[in-house]
Symmetry: C2
Subunit: 326 residues, 2 copies
């Protein structure tokens, strides 16, 4: 739940005078997103989302995110579109923070996605990767392999208080992934955080993708691996091979994965599990005792990592290895 900054009617009205959106009719802080403050804004011309970028988003990165949304929307991807002010700028300032207005997307996220949702997600991810192919801006993934050790160092001392042997397991995994992290696979813009709460469905259609605030330039298949982690495990943490198969087949039908990408998938999935394990672990250990807002439990990703460590090929994820297909 995130509204870190209270915006007054007076300040918002003045801010919106810079836009051609018509009179402000209402706005409500919304309990979504954890990095920024978000408001649902109603003006004479329609509904919009206003985002105030809080300290966890680097100011220098915001133009990348906004340009990406604009680029993807112009290529037919249904995602929020930045609304430009009268000066033609997508980025403004409100209450001392960088702020942007984007179009409002109808649609709901699915708390318990089934295999069909996973297939639709796979196809949408592939379409996003293709649409991003000619996006000219670059942004390094700060949360890829070279960013993991610094996170681990923040949490190492207290990792075993969360789960016995967590420190040793992460340390070994880090050493392994630092040595063997897949190189030379196709690169491009990845979403990097395409969890179910960032994917909208409306009736029997996937209706939109949101929250591009972790997007960056990285290995495309790593984005697939993140989605396998986020979509294909059951609440009891077991991997659902039907969901994995549908997600991968949905992706491949739109953007085929090369043999090298398929072979790297178990490794990429380990990395993705470690990345979310580490950020959740750091957040978990950071929160003061008795806080009303609980961060996500890192154990979920500890168990997912264990699964991936035992996987040997894409067969473990639900599809046949490339050589079997050929």
């Amino acid at each position: 739940m995130a509204v870190y900054t209270d915006v007054s009617t007076e300040d918002l009205s003045r801010f919106l005078e810079g836009y051609e959106l018509g009179e402000l009719l209402s706005y409500k802080g919304i309990a979504e997103g954890v990095e920024n403050s978000n408001f649902l804004v109603h003006t004479r011309s329609g509904h919009y989302i206003l985002t105030l970028y809080e300290k966890r988003v680097a100011a220098g990165d915001v133009p990348f995110f906004l340009a990406l949304m604009e680029h993807l929307a112009s290529r037919g991807i249904n995602c929020p579109q930045p609304v430009k002010n009268r000066k033609g700028e997508a980025l403004g300032k409100l209450c001392g923070r960088l702020a942007a207005v984007v179009t409002f997307l109808d649609g709901m996220w699915i708390r318990r996605p089934d295999a069909w949702h996973c297939g639709a997600l796979g196809a949408a991810l592939a379409r996003m990767h293709l649409a991003g192919a000619d996006f000219p801006k670059k942004r390094k993934n700060a949360l890829s392999v070279s960013g993991w050790r610094p996170l681990f160092e923040k949490a190492a001392d207290r990792a075993d208080t969360v789960q016995r042997d967590m420190r040793g397991t992460i340390e070994k995994e880090l050493v392994h992934l630092e040595k063997t992290w897949p190189q030379g696979l196709p690169q491009g813009v990845i979403h990097a955080d395409l969890f179910p709460d960032n994917v909208f469905f409306l009736g029997q259609e996937l209706s939109g993708l949101i929250d591009f605030y972790f997007a960056c330039t990285d290995t495309l298949a790593y984005d697939v691996a993140i989605c396998l982690n986020a979509w294909c495990f059951e609440p009891d943490r077991s991997y659902n091979v039907t969901k994995g198969r549908d997600l991968l087949n949905g992706y491949i039908a739109t953007r085929p994965l090369s043999t090298a990408e398929l072979e790297a998938l178990p490794q990429l999935a380990r990395g993705a599990a470690l990345r979310f394990l580490l950020t959740r672990l750091v957040d978990w250990l950071d929160v003061p005792k008795g806080a009303l807002v609980q961060p996500k439990n890192p154990l979920e990703y500890f168990r997912k990592l264990r699964f991936h460590q035992k996987a040997t090929s894409v067969r473990d994820y639900g599809i046949q290895p490339a050589k079997d297909i050929a």
Copy 2:
């Protein structure tokens, strides 16, 4: 910020099938209200607020609140209107909680109300009191004079940790008010919590009243006293006599106050200050150390109480006593 219950798309869709609102298009938890979970819901037929009543609202009271909103709306008061389901009921059940859908009101609440806003508020409060005159249901005010001592007893031991001599001051005030609390003044439905965040403005008009979840049957002038506390003090806690005058004159122009009501006003204002001081004090002392959500500081109302203790007539609130007018 309040979303205590996560509602899934599946559960909400099923719940809304009981209504004639059309297909669910989106919903967002909103960061407003502290007692209940609120969602802004978009369906084919428009925008609505969905409220899930959490434990702080007594289940038996909800029908009173919904019937009151319906009654007031039918008398021309712009407030949320309960939407009935296909069975003709305004109250349903969702995720194990009582739940209601009400119409969405445009408008924004004013963070820094000026004297004009106070005048408009006074007039709206009087209109609400007149519109409620023939409302047949009754609800006792659990937070009037007889409810204050039990609150004090919860907080007495630790009151002085918040402010030196708070315990003694409250104790003396309680004894005084229990003995002298005004009796026999005109009664009716009062809002009892008409703070600025519950009053919407749109352009140069007061556009609506919301949040009737403290409404009850009590002394009408006590509602005026609550508003004087909530609207007419500056951020430095000084009383603004111009705002008070406009609020009172706005009220009186629509519903004249009797001599007895005017004479009781300083006393009622002391009671109103004590009521919010006590509930804030209990909440303040209840919150665990390090919690991310901070309750409102009780000191604000401690200082307001000090002001009212020194007041001797409505002259101190900005208008002439009745005998001077006559």
